[in-house]
Symmetry: C2
Subunit: 238 residues, 2 copies
């Protein structure tokens, strides 16, 4: 299970590159395989569609059980809303006696934060707005808890073609307890050629273009803009 970071070759760690170079079979979502073309000449590539996570893990495990060295690639960090947990669960369910190593990567939220400034310098929470696997009541309660506790918040999976209202409801929860001027940063396709970054605020951010490849970071009551940067001060005396 190899995390390749959010974007192109510069975001990869040496450990990730070594793991891919040392594998015979590379399994991944089509777009992730495109990001590592420079490392995969002569290897067997198995690409699957975006929503086929379980299938991708099963294929990787089946090949490993046949004795092949397999790299299951994931953008960002595979341990943060990625497929690391799924592959461990499936290996246990199948009683697969294969050695599994999880190689972390730069997370997409860490990469977006770095391009925006330093919004995650203090306490923060990441909460997925996807109510496909978790009921919305649970998600809403979590959002309310972290909004009240003044945590900087990263709403993962903020919006897709089918899920539109969840981000608006999340925004309303934060607006109830934080000023409309609270900085909100949006990074889309961070690290790739299509990257776009927007620095806006809690009152206005819903008007920005936000999709499945976007990371949204909502500041807390201490967060502020400093020129073009978005920072959350840690409280050092300067």
């Amino acid at each position: 299970m190899v995390g390749i970071g959010p974007g192109g070759p510069l975001d990869r760690t040496r450990r990730a590159e070594q793991a891919i170079a040392g594998s015979q079979v590379i399994v991944g979502y089509t777009r992730y395989l495109d990001l590592i073309r420079d490392l995969t000449a002569g290897k067997e590539l198995i690409a699957t569609g975006m929503t086929r996570e379980v299938e991708r893990c099963r294929i990787a495990l089946a090949r490993a059980r046949e004795g092949q060295t397999v790299a299951l690639v994931s953008s960002g960090d595979p341990g943060i809303y990625g497929m690391a947990g799924l592959v461990l669960e499936l290996a246990a369910a199948e009683n697969a006696a294969v050695a599994i190593e999880i190689i972390p990567g730069v997370s997409s939220s860490g990469a977006a934060a770095a391009r925006l400034g330093a919004p995650l310098m203090c306490d923060f929470a990441t909460i997925s707005l996807s109510d496909i696997l978790v009921p919305w009541d649970t998600i809403r309660a979590r959002l309310e808890a972290v909004a009240s506790a003044d945590l900087v918040t990263v709403p993962y999976n903020p919006r897709s073609k089918k899920r539109r209202w969840q981000l608006a409801e999340a925004a309303a929860i934060f607006r109830a307890v934080r000023p409309g001027t609270t900085p909100v940063g949006i990074g889309t396709a961070v690290g790739t050629a299509e990257e776009s970054m927007v620095l806006t605020d809690l009152a206005n951010f819903l008007e920005s273009e936000i999709g499945m490849r976007s990371i949204v970071i909502i500041g807390n009551r201490s967060s502020r803009r400093l020129g073009d940067w978005f920072i959350t001060p840690r409280g050092y005396a300067l």
Copy 2:
């Protein structure tokens, strides 16, 4: 501002290596400079002690204002309890007209999670227990909020020689709402030669050795052990 990941050369991204290679002056805490010895031959190295964060940033900015290309290095991700925010604040306070780039790294919590399994697969919060810069009442309220909202939690800066009781109070907050069998993972000096990993539970984890170089991950009510792995299931139907 360059993040070099939690451990040795394998944890670094190519972007971080390029930035260090392209700099004339390297500033950092002594131990971080030791981790990048292979990249710094012929460069000017400026090492400062652990608690001298403000001094380190000022030195880096002063050199940059003199026209030198400076890499201020940080282990893990400089944007997560690192120095990215501090350097931006100081640059603004000093009106320093220097170009600043923040290069993210694999975070120490992401690295510890990968070695433990997949504990951060779902919603999680990171909260620092250091009450040097943030009042304990604020920290306690945040811990109570995320404990009740059933978020996997990473208490950063869990313990130091001088701060001993904070982790015990945090543990009590989680024990009030989660079973004693809840998995807790501890990674110390992750990615280095001194790395040690422990998988224990909420009832017993305070007995483990935990220090300034430790990352503690407290599971939520869905987290569980799967053999030697610590996972938080995301809810896929297998």
